[in-house]
Assembly symmetry: C2
């Protein structure tokens, strides 16, 4: 295994600060898994047998409603953990589907190994709880946003968050370094692709950002922030 990969795992939210001896075990017990663009690591409802740390690529977590509508929960970047629920109970189903947005590689640990490791080093349990806690806060924030904020604000937030985790400085501004369709943004902000399209175009007209096919460059992060926080004049 490459040094960088080891380093990524060592700093992942699942295994950070694990005792070095145990960490060797961690490295021994994992399995690499690669999935190509649009492929799936697992589907919502599958038995939660493995936890993953993303090593390369981008993976999105999505949910499908009974009526077939899709909502995108989050987009993972290398170093992030998903499927951590496997820690708990292999019979439990994954709560969401993990789909690769680009060709991706992840390391995987199965439930039995995880539990064994957690028994040897309690910080793994603590890390998992920390992870879950972070996830809970995120969900709460989103829920709050959905109830209280208007669509415009929510779209602004989504873009800012994406920029924070996948942003890339360019001379035009901050490029969101992902193939990102209007539909994707709509799913993340809880609206429709039409509204997203209209909103982004309006923002482009006022110079806040530049858009292209599956491409967004944020020119004025400040402007977006003030929309997200509802400081903008209407």
């Amino acid at each position: 295994m490459k040094k960088e990969v080891q380093e990524l795992i060592r700093q992942s939210s699942l295994f950070r600060e694990v005792n070095p001896d145990i960490f060797d075990k961690v490295l021994e017990t994992c399995v690499a898994r690669s999935v190509e663009e649009d492929g799936f690591f697992f589907m919502q409802g599958d038995p939660a047998t493995h936890a993953y740390v993303l090593v390369e690529g981008r993976v999105k977590m999505i949910q499908i409603t009974p009526s077939g509508q899709q909502i995108t929960m989050r987009i993972m970047t290398p170093g992030q953990t998903y499927g951590g629920i496997a820690m708990l109970n292999p019979r439990a189903g994954y709560p969401a589907t993990a789909q690769a947005v680009e060709d991706s590689i992840a390391m995987a640990w199965d439930t039995s190994h995880l539990r064994e490791l957690a028994g040897k080093d309690p910080s793994i349990s603590l890390n998992t709880m920390q992870l879950m806690h972070g996830y809970i806060s995120e969900l709460q924030d989103r829920q709050q946003a959905l109830v209280t904020e208007r669509v415009e604000q929510r779209i602004a937030r989504v873009l800012l968050k994406l920029a924070a985790q996948s942003g890339k400085r360019t001379d035009e501004g901050v490029l969101i370094d992902l193939p990102l369709t209007r539909q994707d943004v709509a799913e993340m902000s809880g609206t429709t692709l039409f509204t997203v399209s209209r909103t982004l175009n309006e923002w482009e007209r006022s110079g806040l950002l530049k858009i292209g096919r599956e491409r967004v460059v944020i020119c004025s992060p400040h402007g977006l922030v003030s929309i997200a926080d509802d400081l903008a004049e209407r």
Copy 2:
């Protein structure tokens, strides 16, 4: 401490299946706390120093948005755990406010005791994770509902959930045994008290339920379910 209270704690989601020896310690290290109607156990943002198991009364978890709007996350009944986040990190703030809906009594454990106990019996950590997991599912469901469902469905869901956890059979139907204002329902379903009022009245007219001041009796749970699942003709 009364036997019933001990039993309640033994079966609480936080301490279930804890080793009997350790459980004695659990009982020793807790503190009772009572809060009268409308009082607070803790406020959002306070350092998370204690985890609670509700023993008597009803407690609601609420969040306040920056703009002052309130949203109600859930209503706890005796035996349920809240503030479990204290397990993790006493410096972290509580993510929500815990307010007594009626005069209430809860047992409390502080972070240091919790961690000590968790060190002695790993099932406490597992329970906490299980707890968090349940919470995550709940949040995800709600989020899904908020994005994809119409107000009517969401109100129906809220009522059904309340009935499930605080329902009481009467000759008229299932009474939701809580002082429940239209405002409360609105906060739980992410809408306004006006819309709730209108909707409930419409349902009363069609015989699905009976309403009074701070009072709801569900006459036809089936009818509500079919609205919640959108099987109803519009």
